[in-house]
């Protein structure tokens, strides 16, 4: 994600003005009503900044769409109703930006259904975005192990899994699942993904810490 300051430096005048207005609308929404009172009036009545969310790439450039959408969510202190609506009514790119930002919002574990939805998807961009810091903090052990396996199945590099080493360390059940998956692949005469061995090594109780993944 690109920070606001860097974005300002990279965007042209028109795009920067658009972003300023969009963020002001988001901030206004955050200030206008406490989260608890921002219940949806109607499914069609979205605050103005949510309409900006879809158009972010067209105004600020597709390469900045994730960053701009993320900034909007943070600036609006987006409540669960907003992130759910933006996810459920979003394109794959809009959904990904929600997933990438969940850990920066004050949502506790209430947004888990969105992560679970993305982990059921076969769109690898969504799967990769779903295994970020929010999943690391909130997925229960069973769901988290399946998320790791899903990455191996769909060839999402496990580098996308936040705090992988941390959560894998000493996880005997994950090790068993990986061993079984490797055996299944071997029996089928198919190669065992390199990433599987990487994760398997991390499940040792005393596994050396992997390169830090801080966010």
């Amino acid at each position: 994600m690109t920070a606001r300051k860097e974005l300002d430096a990279e965007l042209g005048g028109t795009a920067r003005a658009w972003l300023d207005e969009a963020l002001a609308e988001a901030a206004h929404d955050a200030a206008a009503a406490p989260d608890a009172l921002r219940a949806e009036v109607s499914p069609c009545a979205s605050p103005p900044w949510e309409l900006r969310y879809a158009a972010a790439g067209r105004h600020c450039g597709p390469e900045h769409a994730d960053s701009v959408r993320s900034l909007l969510l943070v600036e609006a202190r987006a409540p669960l109703s907003s992130v759910t609506r933006l996810y459920e009514q979003g394109t794959a790119a809009e959904r990904r930006a929600v997933l990438l930002t969940l850990h920066l919002l004050d949502l506790g574990d209430t947004a888990l259904p969105l992560v679970e939805d993305a982990l059921r998807a076969n769109d690898t961009r969504l799967v990769a975005a779903a295994v970020g810091p929010y999943a690391a903090d909130h997925l229960d052990p069973h769901a988290w192990r399946h998320a790791v396996l899903k990455c191996l199945f769909t060839e999402v590099p496990v580098a996308a899994v936040a705090r992988l080493a941390d959560r894998a360390r000493g996880d005997a059940e994950l090790a068993r699942m990986l061993d079984d998956f490797a055996a299944e692949r071997t029996a089928a005469g198919r190669p065992v993904p390199e990433d599987l061995r990487t994760v398997l090594a991390l499940t040792a109780p005393t596994a050396a810490p992997a390169p830090t993944e801080e966010f």
Partner: protein, 282 residues
């Protein structure tokens, strides 16, 4: 040879089709929303379909190196079903999406008052969103349907150069081109148009503002008809540049009016854009 199929229903096709299309030269396509062959019974069914056209189907296409865009609308046939018409109220939130390059397919099926309403309302939505419109001409009573369609377009706020009249044939091409709209031809194995008749139309009417599509769907159809037209054009003496105009530059020019065409296919690498999430820790 680069090919842009401006009208094909990929949701009904297999991954083998994507591969064969890529091998034939297809690098971009537009998938219009349409009827599924069986009636939908609620707006929610449309929303799931729209979501697929905005998410899953572009992902599938990208895996085969093809840029996927869509047009969204309430189709003419289901515009007659009161269970489906509330879709019109939800369209504005979909028409703001990046990969939506037109409103469509709209137009007439049986020429009913409900279809009049849906067509006029959706031409206005296109005008409101700065989008072109893909207008299907009816299969039955086509010439009368085309005249009525052109009348409704004239009364709308959408300029004719923002309209593509589709499923045309020898009997409707003149009225369509005289209207100032773009002219689309769907090439099918048995019905509507075939590649040799298409070549004759191009010989008589030129290559300006004419688009050719396969319109392949769940019925008997062929997703490689665009390539077959290109080959037939070359065989009949058209130049490579003529072929490029009809099968690439014309659709790019028409849908490009949306300002939303992205013809570089993003790599399906899941970390292509997600990479940025890792940068902080690397």
């Amino acid at each position: 040879m680069r090919i842009f199929d401006p009208h094909i229903h990929m949701t009904s096709r297999t991954t083998d089709d994507y591969r064969a299309m890529y091998d034939a030269g297809v690098r971009a396509l537009v998938e219009p929303s349409f009827w599924l062959g069986q009636p939908r019974t609620s707006p929610a069914s449309f929303f799931d379909y729209f979501d697929a056209l905005l998410g899953w189907e572009p992902f599938r296409a990208s895996q085969y190196g093809i840029a996927h865009h869509c047009t969204l609308a309430l189709n003419p046939k289901e515009a007659n079903d009161p269970r489906c018409t509330p879709v019109l109220d939800a369209l504005p939130r979909y028409l703001v999406k990046d990969s939506v390059v037109a409103v469509g397919e709209i137009g007439y099926d049986s020429m009913t008052p409900a279809e009049d309403h849906a067509l006029a309302a959706q031409l206005q939505l296109a005008a409101d969103h700065g989008l072109p419109a893909l207008v299907h001409t009816p299969h039955r009573d086509k010439l009368a349907g085309l005249h009525r369609t052109i009348d409704v377009i004239r009364e709308s706020n959408l300029p004719p150069e923002f309209v593509l009249l589709d499923h045309l044939n020898e009997t409707t091409v003149k009225a369509a081109t005289d209207s100032g709209c773009w002219a689309g031809f769907s090439i099918y194995p048995d019905t509507k148009m075939d590649e040799d008749r298409m070549v004759t139309i191009l010989q008589n009417h030129g290559t300006e503002k004419i688009l050719v599509n396969s319109a392949a769907d769940w019925g008997k159809s062929d997703p490689l008809k665009t390539r077959k037209v290109a080959d037939a054009m070359l065989k009949a003496g058209f130049t490579e540049d003529d072929v490029d105009q009809v099968l690439w530059r014309n659709p790019v020019a028409f849908y490009g009016q949306s300002g939303r065409l992205q013809l570089d296919v993003l790599t399906p690498d899941p970390l292509h854009e997600g990479n940025s999430i890792l940068r902080g820790g690397e």
